[in-house]
C-alpha cells in the first residue's frame, strides 16, 4: 500500500512525510532543445496502468529524492531507491 514507504535512509515511514512529484521516466531536455521536446517533458505523460516509476521527496525526513516503483492498480510498492544512486 502507498500508505507506507520504506525510505532507504530512514526505514518505514508514513506517506504524509513525502511530497509526490510524479513520473520519473521523463528526462529534462537541454535548454536548447526544440519546443516540441520541452512540451513532451513538461506536459505529456505515459500514465501507465501497472508499474510506474515516480519521484517522491522525503520532505519531512532525510530530504532525499527517491524513486518509488509502484503498481498503480494494486498500490503495491515494488522498490524504493535513492534518486542519486539511479542518476
Amino acid at each position: 500500500m502507498a500508505s507506507l514507504i520504506t525510505c532507504p535512509h530512514c526505514g518505514v515511514r508514513p506517506k504524509e512525510e513525502f511530497t509526490i512529484r510524479g513520473d520519473a521516466s521523463v528526462t529534462r531536455p537541454s535548454p536548447e532543445a526544440d519546443g516540441e521536446v520541452w512540451h513532451a517533458y513538461v506536459h505529456l505523460r505515459d500514465n501507465p496502468r501497472g508499474l510506474h516509476k515516480e519521484y517522491w521527496h522525503h520532505t519531512s525526513g532525510c530530504r532525499r529524492w527517491l524513486v518509488v516503483t509502484r503498481d498503480t492498480v494494486s498500490h503495491d510498492v515494488i522498490d524504493v531507491s535513492d534518486a542519486g544512486a539511479l542518476a
Binding site: 502507498a2 500508505s3 510524479g22 506536459h43 505523460r45
Partner: protein, 419 residues
C-alpha cells in the same frame, strides 16, 4: 398514450395496471456492424454527448460503448455538486452554460434528477482570501452568473454551527452562489441514457474498447470485447481512462490518473441545507435527501487506477471537516469509495479534435466534471456534428499546452496532483 413518457398521469395509469406495464428505461441492443458515430465511455459525458447528438444535431445512428455498467465510473461516484463559480474567461462561460442546462434538464430529458439549487457557499478565512473571492465573484457576475459576498454574520445566520472562532482559520465570510447545488448523480446517467435510447442511440454495456483501427490516417472503427464495430466518427469520453484509450490511437495526453475519495455518514435529520466548502483546506459537504452527509476533500496524490484510496487522505479529510464543523467529530461515517479521474496539467478539461481527422477527444475533467456534464455533452456533440468548437468550449484545446495558453485556475503549474 405513451406510457413510457414519465408524468403524473403515467404514474397513475400504470398504478391502475398494478405497475406491470413499465418497460425497461432503455434497450440492451447487440452492436450493429457500423455507426455514424461511436462514443467510448458510458459515463455522464458520453451519454450526454449521445443525447445531444440525437436531440440537438439530428445524428441518431450512434452507439455508446461502456466497458462496465452505466454509472460504474465517476458519474456514479462523485459528490454531486454543481456550480459555475470559476474565475477565468476560458472556464466561466462554459460552466455557466452548464448550470443553465441543469436548470432545464429534468423537463428536457423527462427524468427526475433531483436538481436542487440549494446554494454553494465557499468560506474565506483571511483578508487576502476575501479579496480573491471578491474578484472571483465579480468575474462570475461579468459572465452572467450569480454571486454574493457574505460577511461573517451573514454566514453565521445561514450555517450557525461552523467553527467561526477557530484560532488558526477563523471564518471571515463566504462567497455564495445561490443557483449552485446538488443533483442526484446516477439519475443523470439514467436520464441521458433513456433520452438517447428513445431517440435511437444504442447503449451497449459490458463492451470494452481494446483498440482503435485506422486506415489512411482515419479511424475506421474500434476493436471491442464484442468484436469489431465500424464508425464514421469516434469520440473518446473515457474520463479517468482517457490516456489508456487515446494511446490506442498513439496519442499521448497531458494527463495523469488520480484517485479521489468520497464519504457518506449515517442518516441524520436535516442539518446542512447548502453545499459548504472550507477555504483553509480541501473539504466540501452537503446532505443527501436520505439524510447522509456527503463529503470529500483532496485526491490521494499518486497516480492510481484503483478506485479506492488510502488512509492518509481519509485522515486529512476528517481533520479538515472537523476544523470546519466541530460537531462532525460525533458523526459516524457509513461508507467511503474512490473514483479515478483524469488530472490534467492545468486542471482544466479538453474538448477538441485531434490530429486524426475523425477522432474527437473529451478528457481531463479532474474533480469538476460532474457539474460540466450537460455542457460537456452539448459542446462535444456540437464539435462532432459541425467539426467546429462550441463558443463556450473554444478554449479547451488540446494544443493549448504546447502553445502556452493554459487555463490554470489556481496557478498550480504543470503538476497534475496540485490541481
Amino acid at each position: 398514450m405513451d406510457l413510457m413518457r414519465y408524468s403524473a398521469l403515467s404514474v397513475f395509469l400504470n398504478a391502475l395496471r398494478g405497475n406491470k406495464s413499465w418497460g425497461p428505461a432503455w434497450r440492451a441492443p447487440e452492436p450493429k456492424p457500423h455507426y455514424d458515430v461511436v462514443i467510448v465511455g458510458g459515463g455522464g459525458h458520453g451519454l450526454a454527448t449521445a443525447y445531444y447528438l440525437a436531440k440537438e444535431f439530428g445524428i441518431t445512428n450512434v452507439a455508446v460503448l461502456e466497458k462496465g455498467w452505466l454509472g460504474s465510473g465517476n458519474i456514479g461516484r462523485n459528490t454531486t455538486i454543481i456550480r459555475s463559480n470559476y474565475l477565468l474567461d476560458g472556464n466561466e462561460p462554459f460552466y455557466e452554460f452548464s448550470l443553465k442546462l441543469w436548470e432545464g434538464l429534468e423537463q428536457d430529458f423527462n427524468f427526475n434528477a433531483m436538481v436542487s439549487q440549494r446554494g454553494v457557499l465557499n468560506l474565506f478565512h483571511s483578508d487576502a482570501q476575501r479579496d480573491a473571492y471578491t474578484r472571483r465573484g465579480n468575474a462570475m457576475l461579468l459572465q452572467g452568473a450569480d454571486a454574493q459576498l457574505l460577511d461573517r454574520d451573514e454566514v453565521r445566520a445561514m450555517v450557525p454551527f461552523l467553527g467561526f472562532d477557530s484560532a488558526r482559520f477563523p471564518i471571515q465570510g463566504g462567497l455564495l452562489q445561490r443557483r449552485g447545488g446538488t443533483v442526484r448523480h446516477d439519475a443523470v446517467a439514467w436520464g441521458y441514457a433513456r433520452g438517447a435510447d428513445r431517440r435511437g442511440v444504442d447503449i451497449i454495456q459490458n463492451c470494452e474498447v481494446t483498440g482503435i483501427r485506422r486506415k489512411n490516417g482515419r479511424v475506421v472503427g474500434v476493436e471491442t470485447s464484442k468484436g469489431f464495430i465500424g464508425c464514421g466518427k469516434l469520440a473518446l469520453t473515457a474520463a479517468g481512462n482517457s490516456t489508456t484509450v487515446a494511446r490506442m490511437a498513439d496519442i499521448a495526453l497531458p494527463i495523469d490518473s488520480h484517485v479521489l475519495q468520497a464519504f457518506v455518514s449515517e442518516g441524520l435529520k436535516p442539518f446542512i441545507d447548502n453545499v459548504v466548502t472550507f477555504g483553509a483546506g480541501h473539504f466540501y459537504i452537503s446532505q443527501s435527501d436520505k439524510g447522509g452527509l456527503v463529503f470529500g476533500g483532496d485526491i490521494d496524490g499518486y497516480n492510481s487506477y484503483a478506485q479506492r484510496g488510502n488512509l492518509a487522505a481519509v485522515e486529512h479529510v476528517m481533520e479538515a471537516g472537523t476544523a470546519m464543523i466541530p460537531g462532525l467529530s460525533r458523526i459516524r461515517v457509513l461508507r467511503s469509495w474512490g473514483g479515478i479521474m483524469d488530472m490534467s496539467m492545468d486542471g482544466s478539461p479538453i474538448i477538441d479534435r485531434t490530429h486524426i481527422d475523425n477522432l474527437y477527444l473529451n478528457a481531463g475533467w479532474c474533480y469538476g466534471g460532474f457539474k460540466a456534464t450537460p455542457a460537456s455533452g452539448w459542446c462535444t456533440a456540437h464539435l462532432v456534428a459541425n467539426d467546429a468548437p462550441h463558443p463556450t468550449a473554444a478554449a479547451f484545446r488540446l494544443d493549448r499546452f504546447k502553445r502556452g495558453y493554459l487555463i490554470d485556475e489556481n496557478g498550480g503549474g504543470a503538476q497534475p496532483n496540485l490541481h
